[in-house]
Amino acid sequence: MKRLLLALSLALPLLASAQQLTVSAAASLTDAFKEIGPRFEASKPGATVRFNFAASGVLLQQIVQGAPVDVFASADQETMNRGAEQKLIAADTRRDFASNTLVLVTPPGSPVKAMRDLSLADVKRVAIGKVASVPVGRYTQQALESVQLWAPLQPKLVFADNVRQVLDYVSRGEAEAGFVYRTDAELAKGKVVIAMTVGGHPPVTYPAAVVADSRQAVLARDFVTFLGSSEAQAILAKYDFGKP
């Protein structure tokens, strides 16, 4: 009898996970999605959502390696395009649900007010996302290239694993400046200040799609649709995300 109970208690989590949805989302979505998750669960009794936050490129690699993911939300179109090319996502489920802005941040009291100030001798380190795997790093490269600063700034660049690490480097004062999204900068108000809004890159839009191998395709599709609902959009707006 005891053994049977033990076997049952071990099997219970498996049964419960029948309605579990795994969402891999860009690091910049962390706070907004943590608030959206419970709202979605409330709208779908029996469903639970778990999140996996990292740089979009890293998340895509996990999906390539066969990670059991149901929904993928990327911080750029390029990463999602790569997923579509490799047939890793169900292309017909893809939709944009938010937008963002690239900003230059510094610790408070910094002399850096514009991009050209990054060339100042006092600026020793500039934090950006890793170009190969972090969308904000790619946007930053394009922005710096558009003002011919990419090559001269190379010796100062420090590459971070995701946008939140860039923010951490700047808020600890270890880097004199960094490029993050406006939504991240707003979360660290007081520790960092926004020097300027940065242009010279494609618009920052967030697509979400159901992963092709998802075993919860219906629920996953519901989650992607839910991101466009007024309830989810209100939460995203609260965190300063723009409309798609």
């Binding site: 690699q61 890793k130 660049l157 590459f159 480097y169 004062g173």
Partner: protein
């Protein structure tokens, strides 16, 4: 190996790894032998606690170690601020930061090897040397150290292998700056993240081969030290 992979191959992470591991092992060796002798031979008050603290990096998550170094030596810390102000020096985003992290994780291995080697040395031989008018220092250098040497060397080789593999704390402190602070373990991590499995595999094979060689050597010395 495809030709294009070879032409893209960057040896900088490997040479930096060897440099970091070599400096860290040397520091760990000096500290480890001194502390190992203290722990094996003296009755220093609070010895047990001090030894536990020195052994801590062996069991602590690397993130705790990295965070600790950031807090103690970061720009906002007293020491880090002072170094920056007076010498314009910082260990953050600097390969020296990786050396500090690697030294801390390598120290327990040298320390354990050295303290057990010192406690196995026959005290009668040291006493004999002293009766032959050798000074304490001379006895240590000419009798104790040569007898304890195989055990110390085995620990040191393990420490070198461990220092080569340091990742978490180094990443947090020194960052992963290609050509400056990116060690082999970080280059592998970046390659995997970017989907460059070919590059990751190649680096992983090289690092594994070097580590196996070191472990084989270390085992030989261990066998010699405990017949």
């Amino acid at each position: 190996m495809p030709a294009d992979l070879w032409s893209q191959f960057d040896a900088a992470p490997l040479t930096l790894t060897l440099r970091v591991a070599a400096v860290a092992t040397l520091l760990a060796l000096l500290l480890g032998v001194a502390l190992g002798w203290v722990f094996a031979r003296t009755r220093l008050p609070g010895r047990g606690l001090l030894e536990a603290v020195c052994m801590l990096p062996l069991v602590l998550p690397p993130t705790v170690l990295g965070y600790g170094i950031l807090v103690l030596m970061g720009r906002r810390s007293a020491l880090g601020g002072w170094l920056r102000e007076h010498f314009d020096y910082t260990v953050i985003f600097n390969w020296h930061g990786a050396v500090i992290a690697s030294t801390l994780v390598a120290l327990p291995l040298v320390l354990k090897g050295a303290s057990s080697a010192f406690s196995q040395v026959d005290r009668n031989l040291e006493a004999a040397a002293r009766t032959l008018r050798q000074s304490r220092w001379s006895t240590f250098v000419r009798v104790t150290l040569p007898l304890a040497w195989p055990g110390i060397l085995a620990g040191t080789l393990l420490a070198f292998a461990r220092a080569m593999g340091e990742f978490g704390a180094s990443l947090m402190v020194a960052g992963s700056i290609p050509g400056q602070t990116q060690t082999a373990s970080m280059a592998i991590y970046d390659a995997v993240q970017a989907g460059r499995d070919d590059l990751a595999l190649m680096l992983a094979l090289i690092v594994s081969a070097v580590s196996v060689a070191i472990l084989v050597l270390s085992n030989r010395f261990l066998q010699r030290s405990s017949p």
